[in-house]
């Protein structure tokens, strides 16, 4: 099995965590910008290609996001130099036009027991994750929470490491 494929039991929407979405946005516009983006220090052009491969090979039915993820992406783009900020924001607009967005109220999210440990963005992701949503993250606490809860989740770092061997 290719390292970029996973076992998906049912048709699933793909939900990407903040840093991976940022990688997708900036890399999708110009892969040479990845090495210049301050907020993507841990990623390379190879990682962008692997992320694309993961999304394509697993035949997800669509894309899902939350307002909290998009807010984090927007804030991170705000730290980048002007050309990266501009193309990143263009990608946000294009992405939002073709993905589904799930909205849970902040009050509801803050009332969840995992809020203290995960924060509001990851609590929203955990709440969105169900049998028809597949979460891809590079965040260990979120990955462990989803995994221990029996949700569909993969740690992108495991995928990366698998691609190196």
């Amino acid at each position: 099995m290719c390292s970029a494929t996973v076992n998906i039991q049912v048709s699933s929407e793909l939900l990407l965590d903040t840093n991976l979405l940022l990688l997708l946005f900036i890399g999708g516009k110009d892969t040479s910008l990845i090495s210049k983006a301050k907020t993507l220090s841990a990623y390379t052009e190879e990682d962008y290609e692997l992320l694309q491969e993961f999304a394509n090979l697993n035949q997800f039915t669509g894309l899902l996001t939350t307002p909290h993820i998009i807010t984090e992406v927007s804030n991170l783009l705000g730290k980048e130099r002007d050309d990266i900020k501009r193309v990143g924001r263009e990608a946000v607009v294009e992405f939002l036009a073709r993905c589904n967005e799930r909205l849970d109220s902040s009050a509801e999210l803050a009332s969840k027991p995992e809020f203290n440990r995960l924060g509001i963005t990851d609590t929203a992701i955990a709440l969105a994750a169900n049998s028809t949503v597949f979460v891809l993250t590079a965040d260990l606490p979120l990955y462990l929470h989803c995994s221990r809860s029996g949700l569909n989740v993969e740690n992108f770092n495991h995928v990366r490491q698998g691609s190196w061997s």
Binding site: A42, T44, A138, H158, Q161
Partner: protein
């Protein structure tokens, strides 16, 4: 802050972190050594590499009323964050990652 070209590549940082964990646990059978999380500190030019692994442990499990005490082996997963210097490629330190 080092440019991406000047710093230790991510794969090499992960290899250095895994080798460091293996060295510290020399003689212990570590299983499923995996990259769990990685972050680059622009402020200090260090890689923060979190490695997860399992090791067989013996844990006493007692059935207090009817059955005599018995011993079972179970696997527990550990998480360690290794700090790798992005200039020299050498490990600086390792700490427990509580998750």
């Amino acid at each position: 802050m080092l440019s991406q070209e000047a710093r230790l590549p991510v794969k090499d940082a992960v290899t250095a972190a895994i080798d460091y964990v293996k060295e510290l646990y020399e003689g212990v059978s570590l299983r499923d050594l995996l990259l769990e999380e990685i972050e680059y500190s622009n402020a200090s030019d260090k890689w923060l590499v979190t490695i997860g692994f399992s090791l067989p442990e013996t844990k006493e499990v007692s059935s207090p009323v009817i059955f005599p005490a018995k011993t079972s082996r179970e696997l527990s997963r550990r998480y360690k964050t290794v700090v790798i210097d992005a200039i020299s490629g050498t490990p600086d330190s390792m700490k427990i990652r509580n998750v």
